[in-house]
């Protein structure tokens, strides 16, 4: 998130846009997007010629549409650098457009726009029924008959995806069983094929890739850089790399980018949930790491310095909680658990839960008292002492800080962002027809 | 002959009851343990209300569509099971044994009624036999063991009827009656006769699934 520390953290309230003007002007408006810094609001609209285009407005300007109009535009997003991108098509040719500048190369279809933390963009692309990935307007040299699950490396230089490395026709079930899928990194496939490949994921240093594969109906493996772990399991979930060793004092921006980062050389390791004998365990580099059996275990996540690991688990059927270093919290939730994360200092763990139909937030094994109709990813302050969420109740959006509702109600709201010094929260939301940017002191 | 009679009514009877009770407990416990270990989810869905709802519907004659479209079978099975349970419990000859041995007694059936009930059990067994031989789908499912079980169930009633009415050779038949009754008791935990104990659980489980999850009737 560019210039995160230089954003306006002083102005307590700005009206970024009056959307009633938009509604008068455009017959068709899609969902509004707001920049991370809260200074701009944008949406896909139809212009006077009934073409799709993008309209942007900031505090000091009138709503302004992109000069180019298109047959179709979708997937409008502010990247981590707050540049605005969309996938657009003109006469059947699809391109990425960023701030109204389109890429040189066009395709029959593009989708799955991915950003790295610097705002580098990659998309999956199809041209004449052949598939590849285009990273920053540069397509892979090799194309494939099938491609899915594209990911971009943290440094933005690499892209990887699951590809059909051996073209297989529908109904060729025995050929399929031999293994026709692999991972391609920057277009180059690993030299081994698998029956299936899922969940490719880059290491922090962008040099390694891990994925889940199966080589037969009952041999599931974790594969790292094309080599499987020694042992197979009856099933596996997504592998994750341990994070790079990072100075504890570093500041994490809301997009996960580390400011003031100081990387130390380290040996990476990979963990993954694995199933054996009908129960789930956490495995590390091929060996069972958490020896306690769980009914379910997934979404393992690391503390920023990599010394702690936690995961969403169901110690018993239908009862969900977080296990921190293989010790489950005592509290249990019946419906669902999601968006778990460590605080930047690694001392706290938070997650969202759904229990008996209501959503809530749990921190370090304790649930907040307030329950919601819906709640979004929790956000820790950089010092780990505050936790904020956006939630919805009775049709309106609010922000809750440490379990208490702060500020007014909104008709629409973006996720809150803490200031670098942890003293304020940036709230970006729609009230009536005004899109407001507020900085609220904690 | 007398010694054998005493053996059959003494130690063998004790053994039969012990095997029946002990065996049933053992079978229950082993099933329960297996369920806990490998089908623990079953317990999560068990629901007393819906289990009872299902059991009740299936304990009422013609309470389910299945019973309605098989009326003969429904009438026969209900009469059969009722008589099968009540006759040995309340027949005068048995109650007197309890009185003599343990000095406890209870209501007894008039002899004529007991006779009719015994006859119903025997006739039902013949009906089941006929089904096993004559109905294609039942015949296809039938194994030699099914005939043996049918015989194990019928034997105490046939022999009891015989002995009570003092038909020729009734003395021998009395011993056969006692032994066949004991065999039946001992067979319960180890054969399909155990279905009498499993019924509430299988019915209750499917009733819970239908009631609690599927929100539908199961009768």
């Amino acid at each position: 998130m560019s210039n995160y520390d230089k954003w306006d953290w002083d102005t307590s309230k700005k009206k970024v846009a009056d959307l009633s003007a938009w509604r008068e002007r455009f017959p068709y408006i899609e969902e509004f997007r707001v920049s991370h810094d809260g200074e701009k609001v944008a949406a896909i609209v139809k212009n006077e010629d009934m073409e799709f285009t993008v309209c942007v407005q900031s505090e000091d300007n009138e709503p302004e549409t992109w000069e180019n109009g298109y047959d179709k535009a979708w997937n409008l997003q502010f990247g981590p650098d707050d540049r605005l991108s969309a996938l657009v098509s003109d006469a059947g040719e699809w391109k990425v457009s960023t701030d109204d500048e389109t890429w040189e190369n066009g395709y029959d279809f593009i989708w799955n726009m991915k950003f790295n933390s610097n705002g580098n963009i990659a998309v999956s692309a199809q041209k004449e029924l052949l598939y590849s990935v285009v990273n920053n307007d540069t397509p892979w040299e090799n194309e494939f008959s099938r491609l899915t699950d594209m990911v971009i490396s943290p440094d933005g230089d690499k892209t990887a995806a699951v590809v059909e490395s051996v073209p297989v026709l529908e109904s060729e079930i025995f050929k399929f069983r031999q293994g026709c899928y692999s991972i391609a990194v920057n277009g180059e496939t690993w030299d081994r094929n698998f029956m299936n490949v899922w969940n490719p994921s880059f290491s922090d240093d962008s040099n390694h890739i891990a994925a889940s594969v199966r080589t037969s109906y009952y041999d599931y493996y974790i594969v790292v850089d094309g080599k499987t772990w020694d042992k197979s399991f009856s099933s596996v979930w997504e592998p994750r790399f341990s994070p790079s060793s990072i100075e504890k004092s570093s500041i994490t921006a809301p997009n996960g980018e580390l400011l003031n980062k100081e990387l130390h050389p380290h040996n990476y390791s990979v963990t993954a949930p694995v199933k054996r004998g009908g129960k789930w365990y956490l495995a590390k580099d091929g060996e069972i790491f958490w020896d306690r059996p769980y009914f379910q275990l997934w979404q393992q996540f690391y503390s920023p310095d990599g010394t702690k690991i936690a995961a969403i688990v169901a110690p018993e059927f239908g009862k969900w909680t977080i296990a921190l270093d293989n010790t489950p919290w005592e509290i249990r939730f019946s419906d669902y658990l999601s968006d778990p994360l460590f605080s930047p200092d690694g001392n706290g763990v938070a997650c969202l839960f759904k229990d008996k139909g209501k959503w809530g937030v749990a921190v370090d094994g304790k649930a907040w008292d307030c329950l919601f109709d819906m709640v979004w990813q929790p956000v820790f302050s950089n010092n780990g002492s505050h936790l904020a969420v956006k939630f919805k109740k009775d049709g309106f959006y609010h922000i809750a800080l440490n379990g208490n509702i702060i500020d007014e109600k909104y008709d629409d709201l973006a996720n809150p962002i803490f200031s670098p010094d942890n003293s304020s929260i940036l709230v970006r939301g729609l009230q009536g027809s005004s899109y407001n940017r507020k900085v609220i002191k904690i | 002959m007398h010694n054998f009679y005493y053996f059959a009514t003494g130690p063998l009877a004790w053994i039969a009851f012990l095997v029946f009770i002990g065996g049933s407990i053992w079978r229950f416990r082993s099933l329960l343990e297996l369920a806990r270990r490998k089908d623990s989810i079953v317990f999560e869905y068990m629901d007393t209300k819906f289990a009872l709802r299902s059991i009740v519907h299936w304990l009422i004659p013609f309470g389910s569509r299945s019973m309605k479209i098989n009326p003969t079978m429904t009438v026969v099975t209900f009469l059969f099971h009722i008589c099968l349970f009540l006759t040995p419990l309340f027949v005068f000859g048995h109650v007197i044994l309890w009185k003599e041995n343990f000095n406890i007694s209870w209501f007894t059936l008039p002899n004529a009624v007991a006779d009719i009930m015994t006859f119903i059990v025997i006739a039902s067994c013949l009906f089941f036999l006929w089904r096993r031989i004559k109905l294609a789908d039942v015949k296809y499912l039938t194994t030699p063991l099914d005939f043996i079980i049918l015989f194990i169930v019928a034997a105490p009633f046939i022999s009891g009827f015989w002995a009570y009415h003092q038909f020729p050779g009734f003395a021998t038949m009395t011993i056969i009656h006692i032994i066949s009754g004991e065999i039946m008791l001992m067979a319960i935990p180890f054969t399909k006769l155990f279905h009498m104990f499993l019924f509430p659980f299988t019915r209750g489980y499917i009733g819970s699934e239908f009631g609690g999850v599927r929100m539908a009737k199961d009768w």
């Binding site: 899609e30 029959d108 279809f109 989708w111 799955n112 999956s124 199809q126 598939y131 899915t148 109904s171 079930i173 029956m195 299936n196 899922w198 199966r214 109906y217 599931y220 004998g277 059927f317 239908g318 969900w320 419906d335 669902y336 759904k354 819906m374 | 099933l31 329960l32 297996l34 369920a35 999560e44 299936w58 569509r65 299945s66 479209i69 098989n70 009326p71 003969t72 079978m73 089904r131 004559k134 109905l135 294609a136 789908d137 039942v138 296809y140 499912l141 194994t143 099914d146 399909k192 155990f194 299988t202 019915r203 499917i206 009733g207 239908f210 599927r214 929100m215 539908a216 009737k217 199961d218």
Partner: protein
């Protein structure tokens, strides 16, 4: 059918059904790779590691009484004891348990055919067995064994492979999915200006999911759903990435690891978008997999997010008066109750509410509601494809009789709110010359819907 049919009466029918040659390459070629040791070890692994008291109780409690026979439309249609539910268990698990897994490849061939193509897993027999024994569960265990042995009918195996590679049933590629939605959106805009199929809209009330065959073969259903959602002014969304397909043939082949992966992706897809609930199109098996089977396998007693079948949703639209109709559908209709949503979720009364709200004349088929006959296509049977089509249609004779009876009372249109039922009923209607028209509820509602002013 009288209460009892004699052995002789049935013999004729049995002969007719006997030893039809299996010509399925998935099964035959799969068998070639088996050895007796492999069969034994796979069977014992499944029996010992994956089953327990349930299977034991089901097999041990069955008193071979034959009461389940009339619970099964295969038996009712074919009059062959081999097709009674318990008869199918006899040909599969009884033998396997008796021989402790020491069975031949020939046995596996027949057992695979029985388990995959002669049982729709419709669970009707559980309502006819006095003990409520669940033969569908036993058949699923057999399928699980066959899956692990690699002996699965080719067509359904292929769809299971598609699920694993694409997260949908029909090999629909990521781009084809979005492209289809955009195409349907554009088409539907002819009916309603500025109509939208909103992709990836966060916080929507409704996450609408469909089965793979919709974008592949029946895109007009997405079109219709879009029109209905827009007419009802719903805050809804569809995902642009895999996870949109709620169907699940892996559940039916016995590939439970894949089933878990599919359901997780589907649930997370909706939950990631913070949707309030999942509304599904008119499909039965997908509902079963999302509402009942897949969630359990993943560790949820009930789905982690409310799952609403189209019937429940349409019923709600009428109850809350969210949509208006121009006039009622004026041809006489009858209703087929799909197993997975009537016996599987008790939606049959709501279905009747919708019929009453939309159609002027309704003629019941009997038996109905929980006691309906399956279309013979469910449980993955139709997905086993052409090699088994004739046998499948023959086992739909009981259904055909029902249809004829409804037709005799005047019904012209059959409403079947399930894709597999549509496939199955279409074949039955054609084969037996029933000459009735098939419709989804969506077809009827779309036809009579009054479009709001834009």
């Amino acid at each position: 059918m009288s209460e009892y049919k004699s052995v002789n009466e049935i013999k004729k029918d049995t002969k007719k059904n006997e030893s039809k040659k299996i010509e399925d390459r998935g099964i035959l070629n799969g068998l070639e790779q088996l050895t007796p040791e492999k069969i034994e070890s796979v069977i014992n692994q499944v029996i010992n590691d994956e089953t327990g008291a349930r299977l034991k109780v089901y097999v041990d409690t069955c008193v071979h009484c034959g009461m389940c026979s009339k619970g099964c439309h295969f038996f009712l249609s074919l009059n062959d004891p081999k097709f009674s539910p318990a008869g199918k268990v006899k040909q599969t698990l009884w033998e396997i348990l008796r021989k402790k897994g020491k069975v031949s490849t020939e046995f596996i061939k027949d057992a695979a055919t029985v388990a995959y193509t002669q049982c729709n897993l419709c669970k009707r027999c559980a309502m006819y067995c006095p003990f409520g024994l669940d033969v569908a569960y036993v058949m699923s265990v057999m399928r699980r064994i066959c899956h692990k042995l690699g002996v699965v009918p080719l067509y359904i195996q292929d769809t299971a492979h598609s699920h694993s590679a694409t997260m949908n049933q029909m090999w629909v590629k990521d781009d084809e999915w979005v492209d289809t939605l955009m195409w349907q959106e554009e088409e539907a805009q002819e009916a309603m200006e500025n109509l939208r199929i909103p992709l990836d809209r966060e916080g929507a009330d409704i996450f609408y999911s469909v089965i793979g065959p919709e974008p592949k073969f029946r895109a007009q259903l997405i079109f219709q759903a879009a029109v209905i959602m827009n007419a009802a002014h719903e805050n809804w969304t569809m995902p642009s990435m895999p996870g949109w397909d709620n169907s699940d043939m892996c559940m039916f082949t016995g590939d439970y690891e894949m089933m878990e992966r599919l359901k997780r992706r589907h649930f997370e897809s909706a939950l990631h978008l913070r949707a309030k609930r999942i509304v599904m199109g008119e499909c039965g098996h997908a509902f079963r997999s999302v509402y009942d089977v897949g969630n359990r396998a993943l560790g949820w007693k009930m789905p982690p997010i409310e799952v609403v079948h189209a019937i429940e949703y349409y019923n709600e639209l009428f109850e809350q008066k969210k949509i208006k109709i121009k006039k009622k559908f004026d041809r006489p209709v009858t209703l087929h109750d799909p197993c997975n949503i009537s016996r599987g979720r008790g939606l049959h009364e709501m279905a009747r509410n919708i019929v009453n709200a939309t159609c002027s004349e309704f003629i019941e088929m009997t038996p109905n509601r929980e006691h309906n006959y399956c279309c013979s296509a469910g449980g993955g049977v139709i997905n086993c494809g052409p090699p088994f089509k004739n046998a499948r249609v023959e086992s739909g004779k009981a259904k055909a009789k029902q249809l004829f009876a409804a037709k005799a009372k005047g019904a012209e249109v059959v409403i079947a709110p399930c894709h597999n039922c549509h496939g199955g009923l279409e074949d039955i209607i054609h084969h037996y010359g029933v000459e009735m028209e098939l419709k989804f509820f969506g077809d009827i509602i779309y036809e009579i819907l009054e479009l709001p002013e834009s």
